[in-house]
């Protein structure tokens, strides 16, 4: 058997050599929006998730049909999918530092970006990565990482540099694979597993930088690192909190201990402006998450949008959507960068719909605040805006022994699922979810508070899920489309827009839907189950594909001519 497999494997590599060019993905190409590939987390650096493709459009969307589907099987065993047209089984390459992996169940959900480069898809779930033929879904190779454990909540995708792939594992390794074969080049520790870090984010390749984040379940400080994509050597490391008292930002913490146990992981990929050399992303919540008693102050740079110089890792500017966050809301959404008009002047803008329910427009050169508007009427946790446009938290709405009724719940109005911006309509689109929760403080002793401890949450009312379209120039909601469901409804969805005047997203009942971006009218749908990540689109052999993921399956759609 082994002999045969080896033979097939070699054959496969030889045949794949024709598919993947010798150069793989040149990072210079990432600076221009791609139409024939999906080479990085958001498709390009802008975070807009807008494609200029028009082959699929409002006129012919009714002819959009399934091109192929494939179910991916994670784990160390047989990697063959339920359907495989090719000969034999694809190789599974096994990596890891321990003999027996910790058993993990139910972590096979695709909830991150899939890369498409030179006709091959690269897809990941926690501890697993695959190369898949983009023309019919056949698995080319499968890589399995033997995990030590860690929070297996998701994997947001891979990064690619020439012929090399990168992904993170829940037990805090950065693994680099050869895209042609799935063979491991190297792996390295990016954060300390014993300190309860866990790693999910999609690495972002920018020039010769590999931008890598991590998060923590307890209270260890968040940080973002840049590695050399060739060697894996560390280039810089930026902490989410100042490292010493006296540094800028440390005045927003009572003491070093609270500052260095302030959390603020870096778990959602950001966007990048190649001209300004700035990388923009949001940091997570401070810890203890639900009580600010031990961390009086704004707690910089937790729940912040930050701009880092991509070459040095130095902070260029920051803006804090949730000063002194006490509801675990983070500010970790992918910001969208737009060159557009604001108050009659052309400006370089950054748009962000935060989990706390407020929509922000910033100047991305300086971080100057331009606009704050709540994008739902139901928010009840803030007493207005301060002179910097930051919501003023109402301390009465912190978790309390008797319970504090707050909208939104700890998941926020939005979560990691990416929003989209359509330059044709000038609208910013985001899938929103509004729930009332009672936040109870359960820990009378503030010294025992750590991480996410110390509260219970009771959900007591669902206002509903919507696709919400926001005019960034005014912050006004242009339209909202209610996503009906009989019960709880599926989770949030990511969104994608195209020049074919289409807005793709999942609905609360498990449909993949194409909406009219002008008004939210549904134009096409198919029922897949929860579609959490935004769909992706690219041209292949003259055919525009829509790639969606639900559960452990990939679905590719194209026009039936």
């Amino acid at each position: 058997m082994k002999q045969i497999r080896t033979f097939l494997f070699v054959t496969l590599i030889v045949s794949m050599a024709g598919i993947v060019s010798a150069q793989g993905l040149d990072p210079v190409l990432l600076t221009k929006p791609a139409t024939d590939s999906w080479p990085t987390y958001s498709g390009d650096y802008s975070g807009q998730r807008f494609s200029s493709l028009t082959q699929i459009n409002q006129t012919n969307i009714k002819n959009l049909g399934l091109a192929w589907v494939n179910h991916l099987t994670p784990g160390p065993g047989n990697a063959s999918p339920s359907f495989r047209p090719g000969p034999g089984n694809p190789p599974t390459i096994v990596g890891g530092e321990i003999d027996e992996p910790v058993p993990v169940r139910g972590a096979g959900r695709i909830s991150g970006a899939v890369l498409q480069v030179n006709g091959v898809l690269y897809v990941s779930v926690p501890d697993n990565a695959w190369a898949v033929d983009a023309r019919n879904g056949m698995v080319l190779w499968h890589y399995f990482w033997k995990t030590k454990g860690g929070t297996h909540i998701g994997n947001r995708g891979m990064g690619m540099y020439h012929d090399w792939l990168y992904f993170e594992t829940p037990d805090d390794y950065l693994v680099s694979l050869d895209a042609k074969t799935g063979k491991e080049r190297w792996h390295k520790v990016i954060s300390d597993f014993n300190e309860q870090y866990f790693s999910t984010i999609a690495p972002i390749v920018i020039g010769n930088h590999l931008i890598v984040g991590t998060a923590d379940d307890l209270d260890a400080p968040g940080f973002l690192q840049s590695f050399d994509p060739e060697t894996g050597d560390l280039q810089w490391k930026w902490y989410s909190e100042p490292e010493k008292m006296g540094e800028p930002g440390s005045e927003t913490w009572p003491n070093l201990d609270s500052m260095r146990h302030g959390g603020a992981g870096t778990w959602v990929p950001g966007s990048y402006d190649p001209k300004l050399h700035l990388y923009y992303f949001g940091t997570a919540n401070p810890t203890p998450a639900f009580s600010g008693v031990t961390r009086e102050g704004d707690n910089l740079y937790t729940s912040c949008i930050v701009a880092l110089n991509v070459d040095t890792g130095k902070l260029a500017w920051y803006y804090q959507p949730s000063p002194h966050d006490t509801h675990d809301w983070d500010a970790a959404q992918t910001p969208i960068i737009v060159d557009g008009e604001f108050k009659g002047k052309p400006r370089k803008l950054l748009l962000d719909a935060s989990r706390n329910g407020y929509f922000f427009v910033l100047d991305r050169v300086t971080g100057e605040h331009l606009l704050t508007v709540p994008y739902t009427e139901s928010l009840n946790w803030a007493k207005g805006l301060d002179k910097l446009g930051r919501p003023i938290r109402d301390p009465e709405k912190d978790a309390s022994p008797g319970g504090a009724l707050v909208l939104p719940d700890t998941d926020g109005i939005v979560n990691w699922q990416p929003p989209s911006y359509d330059p044709q309509t000038g609208l910013f689109y985001v899938a929103t979810d509004e729930n009332y929760s009672v936040y109870y403080r359960t820990e009378p002793n503030v010294r025992a508070l750590q991480g996410l401890n110390g509260i219970q949450e009771q959900r007591v009312g669902k206002k509903g899920k919507y696709i919400t379209a926001i005019d960034y120039k005014t912050g006004k909601v242009a339209w909202r489309h209610l996503q009906l469901s009989a019960g709880e409804g599926e989770g949030n969805t990511g969104l994608t827009t195209t020049a074919g005047k289409l807005l793709f997203g999942g609905d609360a009942n498990g449909n993949l839907v194409a909406y009219d971006p002008a008004n939210g009218k549904p134009l096409w749908h198919t029922h897949l189950g929860l579609v959490s990540n935004a769909v992706e689109t690219y041209m292949l052999d003259g055919r525009q594909y829509i790639l969606a993921a639900s559960g452990d399956s990939l679905y590719a759609f194209a026009l039936n001519f």
Partner: protein, 294 residues
Amino acid sequence: MHRVKLVLFVLAGLGAAALVAEQSPAPAQEPGANQASPQAPAQPQAPVGVARPPAYPVRPPADPAVVARGRQIFSANCSFCHGSDARGGEGGPNLIRSELVLNDNSGELITTVVQNGRPDKGMPKFDLAKEDIASIAAFIHSMPVGGRAATTGTVDPLVGDAKAGEAYFNGAGKCATCHSVTGDLAGIGAKYKDVRALQGTMLSGEPKGELAEAPHKTVTVTLRDGQTVEGTLEQVDDFIVSLVDANGNYHSYDRQGDSPKVVIKDPLQPHLDMLQTLKDVDIHNLTAYLVTLK
């Protein structure tokens, strides 16, 4: 380095535990007080004082290798909901002070919950082997609970004024327009042992905790020929509506825009509307009042 950090962390945890114990000389929970209903939601528990014998069972130390493996399996499967240290996290309760865990010796009770899940509380079942769950149990039992005061998760929402709650019920709150303390709410304070569940029920309109049941939306579908079909809503989106009628028959209809016409009635809607303006002080007072309705 890792090992040093771990030791320091444990010491810090024990330090915190000791401090709580010193500051909270409250009576210990009666042993076995909650054994009759292991499925019931966690009751508010008073912190334990140092003067009393620990309510937590004193356990012989487990094989460190088993505990280490349990920690790994726990971290991969359980920690997202229950927290990395099993003291509660995103949605899942604190397991270290869970009644069921306290009553568990070596995984025999935990196994049932893990393998069957708790669908009523949103916990999925986990297809883990018995020895894996036993090592999870060994890990949880190995935690330095320090007289279980390390982090005591207690919810006791009884902070309001019952008299003010009564006034609000009959006055500004307009509760009495739909509800009656001698009718539908008679004895509600006795029905709920858990004040948190009572409060959740009061706010959402949907029975919570031990009396929880799935809320039913009803729907009326007016077909293109004018015929109407009514029943319990099964599913609805922009493209389909389906229901179960009074005879138990399932009906499913394609939707295109407003055709057929669909009218959904959500019995919880009045409570949802109320939440927009309800003040926390009124919630606390109403809760205190409802508790008195024995």
